[in-house]
């Protein structure tokens, strides 16, 4: 990996990035509440990397590609439509769009372009794709970023939800490396909205809906 890629990836994957990562548990909070045993959390993390994360990563990669190919606003709208059709849970769509606002601020401040509209709204993976395009992050690293971020979100949330040695949760993320690579291999070459994978996870979606109606919660999603 060339040096510019390494620092970019580290920066965008850093939990200190001001994009609201602390509000997220990658669905872990409702999963535990519905009875997922702590011992199954690594399998949960793996299941996400095979399903919902593939949709997110595919969306970011295609948004990046179309943006670099001189994409106009309506190309990104088509990516957003494809993502939304592959994200049946309204709670998950609302959450990703809320996160998207933070990423839009990041994009407009750090990688501005003529004609940027501060009122522009899009889902997180679409904005992430645009950030990747403007900052120079390549397609494979864009997909890795989505996978890594998700795994790390599960691991970090676990520490707040169940008492555990932080070295244990960190080891989960490291152990997920082959799955993150497999995810990146699966989506890095995608160029069209219709090609975005649609791997669903019905229970993750159901838990997200339940969580949306819960008043006592640590994490937004």
């Amino acid at each position: 990996m060339d040096a510019s890629q390494s620092v970019l990836l580290a920066l965008l994957a850093d939990a200190r990035l001001p994009t609201g990562a602390h509000t997220q548990s990658a669905g872990l909070e409702p999963a535990l509440r519905s009875g997922l045993p702590a011992a199954s959390v690594p399998a949960y993390l793996a299941a996400r990397l095979r399903t919902v994360c593939v949709v997110e990563a595919g969306t970011a990669v295609v948004a990046r590609h179309l943006s670099l190919a001189g994409g106009r606003a309506r190309d990104l709208v088509a990516v957003e439509t494809a993502w939304a059709a592959r994200t049946p849970s309204p709670a998950l769509r609302a959450n990703a769009r809320m996160l998207g606002r933070g990423y839009v601020r990041l994009l407009h401040r750090l990688w501005p372009a003529a004609g940027d509209d501060p009122r522009w709204r899009a889902t997180r993976p679409v904005v992430l794709g645009l950030i990747a395009a403007r900052s120079g992050l390549d397609a494979v690293n864009t997909a890795r970023l989505v996978g890594y971020d998700d795994a790390q979100t599960v691991a970090a949330a676990m520490l707040k939800l169940a008492p555990l040695d932080p070295l244990v949760t960190t080891s989960w993320v490291l152990a997920a490396r082959p799955l993150i690579e497999a995810l990146a291999d699966r989506v890095a070459h995608l160029t069209r909205p219709g090609e975005i994978p649609a791997c669903g996870a019905p229970l993750i979606e159901q838990w997200a809906q339940d969580h949306d109606h819960t008043t006592e919660r640590l994490f937004r999603a």
């Binding site: 095979r50 439509t81 059709a85 592959r86 996870a201 019905p202 229970l203 838990w207 809906q209």
Partner: protein
């Protein structure tokens, strides 16, 4: 391949029916459309079977497909089989297809695909009940792909890898054996007081039940009955 094509015509709708592994029979018809039963012409679903059903509803027409029996995908020692539905709805056309359960027995390896193309103002109501294993079984391999477009744009795309290991992952199905879904495409249907409801980003919604058996989830059944009224079928 089985074909059901319906087009409105003065007096009585024109129905083009072609029998394949499933034979279509008209139960009722008027000038706008028809209610058609699908009857299996032999044992289904065996290893190597590729069932294809092509449906077309012309602009302004209606079609209600009725299944007479559920389907068991039998132990095929892992030999793949398929169940593929393709439906095209013209402008303002209406389709109701509340299917009966597909039971995926041990040793079955099924690929199921449902492709729906809706023109503007078309509406489709579908029910899909997937059951893993007969009594005492854990069930075989299933991949279920649904792709619905409305006026050229993706409305719902879902690709479920429901092989035994993948579906038992936490967050997919876990230990649940039944995935029961009633799906409305082309409009936003009323709430029903049971099951988990998912409003799509575009006009559409589904109610889904994940559970241990087909009779404890009432949401999809309620939705199928209640939402059918919105199709204004005779």
């Amino acid at each position: 391949m089985s074909t059901i094509a319906v087009a409105p015509a003065p007096g009585r709708a024109r129905c083009r029916l072609v029998a394949g592994a499933l034979s279509p029979r008209v139960l009722h018809a008027d000038d706008g459309g028809a209610r058609v039963a699908l009857v299996a012409t032999g044992a289904l679903l065996l290893g190597g079977d590729e069932v294809r059903i092509d449906v077309e509803v012309a602009p302004g027409g209606w079609l209600e497909v009725v299944e007479t029996a559920g389907t068991v995908a039998y132990d095929a020692g892992g030999t793949p089989s398929g169940w593929h539905v393709r439906a095209r709805l013209g402008e303002g056309a209406r389709l109701s297809w509340c299917g009966l359960p597909l039971v995926v027995a041990d040793g079955a390896h099924v690929r199921r695909s449902t492709e729906l193309t809706l023109a503007a103002r078309a509406r489709a109501l579908l029910r899909e009940t997937l059951v893993f294993g007969r009594v005492g079984e854990t069930g075989g391999v299933l991949r279920a792909v649904t792709r619905a477009t409305l006026d050229g744009a993706d409305l719902l795309v879902e690709d479920l890898d429901l092989g035994p290991a993948a579906r038992r992952s936490p967050g997919v199905l876990g230990e649940r054996r039944v995935l029961d879904t009633t799906l409305a495409l082309g409009w936003r249907p009323v709430e029903v007081p049971a099951g988990h409801r998912y409003d799509l980003d575009g006009p559409g919604a589904f109610v889904r039940y994940l559970g241990a058996d087909t009779h404890s989830g009432t949401g999809p059944a309620l939705a199928a009955t209640s939402w059918r009224a919105d199709l204004d079928l005779p």
